[in-house]
Amino acid sequence: MSDATRLSVFKTYKLYVGGKFPRSESGRVYEVNDAKGNWLANAPLSSRKDARDAVVAARKAFGGWAGATAYLRGQILYRVAEMLEGRRDQFVREVQDAEGLSKAKAGAVVDAAIDRWVWYAGWTDKIAQIVGGGNPVAGPYFNLSSPEPTGVVTIVAPQESSFLGLVSVLAPVIATGNTAVVIASEDRPLPALSLAEVLATSDVPGGVVNILSGRTAEIATPLAAHQDVNAIDLAGADEQLAKELEVAAADNLKRVLRPQAVDWVADPGTSRLTPFLETKTVWHPTGSLGSGGSSY
């Protein structure tokens, strides 16, 4: 068969919920165009029920992921970076299409995204040292603070930076043991939906990351009000939407990370690791631990 007669095989982009790739429960799709307005593909247009299902999946996965050792989480995130490296060309193409960059610039963005996974993979078992530790107290106690993941986190992914921005907000959330429901960039969802394929093949347990595409406001509103979501990152919400979501989130005292101007290429530091941590403090009576040994 010659190349001229070969039928093109289009990729069906799907959601990523609970480790599976379902279509939207609503059956809807919407057209995704590249930066010049040419049609690229159809992406699923998620409904609030997809959001609800994603939260159920994320909640189910939370115990196992939060309970995994930090070292193991680091290994798994590093494996995500390995898998991304193998699919570099695909992501360069998708970022190029989505953001209208040159091939060289798109390549730099993908490299930065891969490096960011590695960066956060390294932080999984080190964050406890900088935000936890032993506290000096005036009494015969050990007093220890340790950071704990907060639970299910909804992430409104950045609208402009469809891949590096997404990785920069997603990786810190799961590095610390939270599970995530990600609302991909509304106009540029394809790199996010492809990232799901990488996550599915890199030992990240199903449900730890759930990726939804569609109208940001439609999906984010029920998630902000959802009683079983513990925190929300508003990185990709515009000012008006961010305000509405924050109001809705106040009902069950969600942690809210407000949108802020971020240079995604710059060194991220630890500022995105800490907002979705809770501090558990343990008072431990020491008794007399002298040379005579333990008294209990």
Binding site: R52, V55, R59, P222, A225, H226, Q227, D228, D251
Partner: protein, 394 residues
């Protein structure tokens, strides 16, 4: 019933032709319209079929009124002495019982499952959903049947049955709590004065592998402790080896031992292998005097499914059409979500009819289902999706 039919037939009555309504009703003591009886009674009693001419139309019309009245009076009579006389000759011997059960029409597996699946696709929304959720809550037998059950856990369960959602006192109570016999007294105290019933499993639940004396003692013990309802298991071993009479006699004996308590008969459909067996078991249970027929113990791999519940609903529907006696149905095990529960309610409404849409006639054996119903209820009330943090951990 079949016996009487034989008598009338042999006296040479004009009736007993299938399509002659008034005569048919006259010749059978009961409403003889059930297709089971019509088609398979000959297998049981083998009456000589009289070759009589059909009566003239005018004559027939004249008899209709009279016939109807007679049928009505018979019905009330049968309600007074339920389910005994109509099947006296069916249960006369092992052979007749076997012939009756094996004479029941075979189940169309594909058709049954397709119908159950089709009814599961109904979309129930808004006010209908709110109604269904409250109805489902009121039908739950809130169950704890664990080796690790403590008095404290049973107390907590009782409190939850009385006030399923403490933040909304408008929530209906559940129908009952279901516990092991030794916890009946505790459960009774926990739900005292609320109208919530106490059901107890008995007869060596869940295996049912014990001597009859032990099973009866188990039952009496539970009733003495105050159980309003008894959930018994049938002897599946006897059933599967074809000893239907033993199963029948055992249900009869337990029914007697249970006295005033309503008797639910568990077939453990997952162990009966075929739909035909489930239909046969349903009929044994109903003939033997069960007040409820129940799918499963919840202790085996396959529990209540829409298909086997549909089959049992058809059985109780046909049984009432034939005898006038209404019997309840209780699917148990594996029903965890509101969606599932609503599917079952659709099955009930479409199969047995709205008469069964009441917790006197239909129950869910469940524990985690209640939390999901409550979360859905909260979602309807507030518009916000609820989570497991807002219901009790059982």
């Amino acid at each position: 019933m079949f016996h009487r039919r034989q008598e009338e037939s042999s006296t040479g009555a004009k009736g007993c032709e299938r399509n002659v309504t008034p005569e048919r009703k006259l010749c059978g003591a009961e409403d003889f319209t059930s297709r089971y009886a019509r088609r398979y009674a000959p297998l049981v009693t083998m009456p000589p079929v009289p070759k009589s001419d059909k009566p003239a139309k005018a004559e027939k019309a004249a008899k209709v009124d009279k016939a109807d009245k007679k049928v009505k009076s018979v019905k009330t009579e049968s309600a007074a002495t339920p389910a005994k006389s109509p099947f006296a000759d069916v249960t006369a011997s092992d052979a007749t019982l076997r012939r009756f059960l094996h004479g029941l029409p075979g189940v169309d597996t594909v058709g049954l499952e397709a119908r159950a699946a089709a009814l599961g696709t109904r979309s129930i929304k808004t006010t209908a959903k709110a109604y269904a959720i409250d109805l489902a809550i009121s039908m739950i037998d809130l169950t704890t049947l664990e080796g690790a059950d403590t008095a404290g856990k049973v107390h907590a369960l009782g409190a939850k049955a009385v006030h399923p959602d403490p933040t909304d006192r408008g929530t209906p109570t559940t129908a009952a709590v279901c516990v092991y016999p030794d916890m009946v007294a505790t459960a009774k105290a926990a739900v005292a004065g609320s109208g919530v019933k106490v059901a107890s499993v008995a007869t060596a639940f869940p295996a049912g592998r014990a001597a009859l004396g032990v099973k009866l003692a188990d039952t009496k013990d539970a009733v003495a402790a105050g159980a309003d309802e008894i959930d018994m298991v049938i002897d599946r071993g006897a059933f599967l080896s074809g000893d239907y009479m033993k199963v029948y006699e055992e249900i009869r004996a337990v029914k007697e031992a249970a006295g005033p308590a309503r008797l639910k008969v568990i077939f453990e459909t997952g162990e009966l292998s075929t739909y035909d067996n489930i239909r046969r078991a349903s009929w044994i249970g109903m003939i033997a005097g069960a007040d409820f027929i129940k799918t499963s113990t919840g202790k085996v791999g396959v529990n209540a499914t829409p298909a086997n519940t549909l089959l049992m609903l058809e059985a109780v529907r046909d049984f009432r059409a034939q005898t006038g006696v209404q019997i309840g149905v209780k699917p148990a095990g594996g029903i965890r979500s509101t969606k599932d529960a609503i599917k079952f309610l659709v099955l009930v409404n479409e199969t047995a009819g709205p008469d069964w849409l009441d917790n006197h006639w239909f129950r869910f054996g469940a524990s985690s289902l209640l939390n999901d119903l409550l979360m859905q209820r909260q979602k309807l009330a507030t518009g916000r999706y609820s989570g497991p943090d807002y219901v009790t951990v059982d």
